[in-house]
């Protein structure tokens, strides 16, 4: 593979700056005392402390999973700061009061925060090192009964709702990282769409990890009641550090009868340098429960960052006629490793699911699709269609597919298609011969390859994702 492809990949990380804001950190390490301290700092009710402690006790009995197709040095969980927040100055009444340093950071990131967001109609819940700094648009949404706020705020203002749904999709002992998150999660977003309400705008959250050596343990809970619908956008970026940072988030979605949740992610955490030094370890549990009849949950993700990605946004299709969708683009470059995919668990009758996964590997990276389609014995008439395509750039990268299909009902229809292709010299030469330079050619090929996924992203995210892929591959083809 020519140097142009190589050069495209070797683009330095654009978002690597550290914001100098005083952070108030809890001492390193994890113990019941640390958990009590976190809970106390957040002034939490007793039931939540109990939730944390029981998760922690469960976690102590668990083993770190090793089945993923990734390798990394053993994580020392006692060497992590589990809580850090910018020192609170006072309650913020408006964006103008937000630390100018912080606002500059967002400007550098290109997060169109306040007026710009007002213009585009997106409410942003900004998470900055574990504490929600501000929530815009809240009042406006509140008028129609939609709750969109930080998780901590929800715990205080809507304890019954949080108590009802927290852990109802991802139980605290679900897996090693989910248990860890349940024990130490710091903040996140809470979103509740009441019966019959269509959320009039996309809800958007920007996550960002800032303190060096601090883990980020986000907790997101979205509930759509009967007939409600919402589109939620999550964008992630992190500054670059030499050390690895752990990110173990949990996202739970609940859709009741006829409800519809669309969750879109563009993930661009720092991926480490071209030799694999530094970068985020992203071990995330995302799961949606289609609890009611005719409900629908759709995951769309564009994963371009992190040193290691371990992530399987899944759908449990409990309600009859419910629908689960997973559209994914995962791009790895340099030494990045991604093991990502989905689980579609069909329990109700006539449930349908659709999986479109596009993996792009460049440099010396490793990119795996891991998926499970399970059709339970009651799931009469269930259908699944899966398509997993891999594209290789250069000849030192790796692409793998690990699909599992488990069918316990003879009326089910399950289809799986897979393909592997390579950006070849012939394609690049063809574009060159038509006068098109290598960067534009790669961008066109990649975007063509990802088209089936990008059409499911909200417009502004699709534009960002297109740019991001081009940026991440700059210098990798030639």
């Amino acid at each position: 593979m020519s140097t142009a492809i190589q050069n495209l990949v070797n683009q330095p990380y654009k978002h690597g700056f550290v914001t100098d804001i005083e952070s108030e950190a809890v001492p390193k390490g994890l113990s019941e005392d640390v958990i009590r301290l976190i809970s106390a700092k957040k002034n939490e009710p007793e039931w939540l402390l109990e939730f944390r402690l029981s998760a922690y006790r469960h976690w102590l009995t668990m083993e770190e999973p090793t089945w993923a197709n990734v390798s990394y040095p053993k994580i020392d969980f006692q060497d992590i700061i589990y809580f850090s927040q910018p020192k609170p100055k006072k309650q913020l009444a408006s964006m103008d009061e937000v630390d100018p340093e912080l606002r500059r950071t967002f400007e550098k990131l290109g997060v169109p925060l306040h007026e710009q967001k007002l213009m585009t109609g997106v409410a942003v819940d900004v998470i900055f090192d574990s504490v929600s700094v501000t929530t815009t648009y809240k009042a406006k949404l509140a008028e129609i009964g939609i709750i969109f706020c930080s998780f901590s705020e929800a715990v205080h203002q809507y304890p019954e709702l949080v108590k009802q749904y927290l852990g109802s999709v991802v139980p605290s002992g679900d897996n090693f990282y989910a248990a860890l998150n349940s024990a130490v999660f710091t903040d996140g977003s809470f979103c509740f769409i009441p019966k019959g309400t269509k959320c009039p705008m996309d809800l958007s959250t920007y996550f960002r990890i800032n303190t060096e050596g601090s883990g980020q343990f986000e907790r997101t809970l979205i509930v759509a009641e009967e007939g409600a619908s919402v589109s939620y956008l999550e964008g992630c970026t992190a500054p670059q550090f030499d050390t690895n940072q752990l990110h173990a988030a949990v996202v739970e979605l609940v859709a009741l009868d006829n409800a519809d949740i669309k969750y879109s992610t563009v993930q661009n955490w720092y991926a480490g340098d071209e030799n694999g030094k530094g970068g985020i370890f992203n071990f995330v549990t995302k799961r949606g429960l289609c609890k009611g009849v005719n409900s629908k949950i759709s995951w769309t993700q564009v994963e371009t960052g992190s040193a290691i990605t371990w992530k399987y946004p899944s759908c449990v299709l409990l309600g009859d006629n419910s629908i689960g969708e997973f559209y994914s683009v995962a791009l790895t470059n340099h030494m990045q490793q991604a093991d990502t995919g989905t689980k579609m668990i069909h329990i109700g009758k006539n449930t349908r699911s659709r999986i479109i996964s596009k993996g792009i590997s460049a440099g010396r990276s490793s990119n795996s699709y891991r998926g499970e389609v399970k059709i339970g014995s009651r799931a009469t008439g269930a259908r699944n269609y899966s398509q997993c395509d891999s594209m290789l750039i250069g000849d030192r990268c790796e692409a793998s597919t690990f699909p599992t299909i488990d069918v316990q009902n003879t009326s089910a229809q399950v289809e799986h298609e897979a393909s592997t292709s390579k950006i070849g010299e012939d394609q690049m030469f063809f574009f060159a011969q038509r006068g098109i330079g290598s960067e534009e050619a790669v961008s066109m090929i990649i975007n063509g390859f990802c088209k089936d996924v990008f059409v499911h992203l909200p417009m502004e995210f699709a534009v960002e994702a297109t740019k991001l892929l081009g940026l991440k591959l700059e210098g990798s083809v030639g």
Partner: protein, 260 residues
């Protein structure tokens, strides 16, 4: 047509080129090619498999597999070998591929518009927006009698052999190159597709541009009549004649020229 005093487009002198072959190292394919092409001319390069015809096309276009080991190629006075492949294309050199590639998810019209607008920029002209460009395309597809539905489809994906070749000529029609090299554009075409492709090329010929056809067969030359026919053998042009040479080759084969 040959006209006195027409401008020289391409002048190739003593061109040598090699390719890396697994287990055999660098193997020289072109061993001193001389060729001059003027505006308004139609050339045919014929020869058996392995004689270097396709290599010659690819070397001129700048395919990365080949290394120029000697000689020169001047394109309108510019040294072709100092230009990157995309710069050669923007200068007006076009290669219609023997095996057109498929590009999943990239529509024909999107590719054509990007290529066209890249050229417009190069020439300091305005880019066309999708609507304006569509008007232009609707005219251009008539040249190759193509169904407009092909414009929205992914480049060459699921196209028949003949449709792919027509698509190459469509690209030529949109980009209006000064010199077009058609690398075995006739291979794999049935007689109707051959007629359509040849018709398309004939419509695009002007006194200011030129076409080089690389082919095995006389058949194509019945439709696109060459001013010159060159025979390539073992990496060199060993004989040049008029269109009657092609007929002679059809009758006698290539053997009698091998020794030359």
């Amino acid at each position: 047509m040959i006209k006195a005093g027409s401008k020289t487009l391409l002048e190739v002198k003593n061109l040598r080129a090699a390719v890396q072959v697994d287990g055999a190292g660098s193997v020289e394919i072109l061993k001193g090619v001389d060729l001059t092409i003027r505006a308004g001319e139609v050339h045919a390069i014929m020869g058996i498999n392995g004689s270097g015809k396709s290599t010659f096309s690819k070397v001129l276009a700048g395919h990365p597999d080949y290394t120029v080991t000697g000689g020169t190629a001047m394109f309108e006075g510019k040294d072709l070998f100092t230009l990157a492949p995309e710069e050669r294309a923007r200068a007006g050199l076009f290669l219609a591929f023997q095996y057109p590639v498929e590009i999943t998810g990239v529509s024909n019209s999107a590719l054509l518009r990007l290529a066209y607008n890249t050229l417009q920029n190069e020439r300091g002209l305005e880019e066309l927006d999708p609507l304006e460009f569509d008007d232009l395309l609707q005219e251009k597809i008539k040249v190759v009698e193509m169904d407009p539905r092909f414009l929205g489809r992914s480049v060459n994906e699921g196209f028949s052999g003949g449709e792919k070749k027509r698509n190459e000529i469509l690209q030529m029609a949109v980009l209006e190159p000064k010199l077009a090299i058609l690398d075995e554009t006739d291979s794999g075409l049935d007689i109707d597709a051959l007629r359509i492709v040849a018709n398309g090329v004939n419509q695009l010929l002007t006194p200011d541009n030129a076409v080089v056809m690389v082919t095995h067969y006389q058949r194509l030359l019945n439709y696109i009549v060459p001013d010159y026919v060159h025979v390539m053998s073992a990496g060199r042009i060993v004989k040049t004649g008029g269109k009657e040479l092609a007929l002679e080759l059809e009758e006698r084969g290539y053997d009698w020229l091998k020794a030359a």
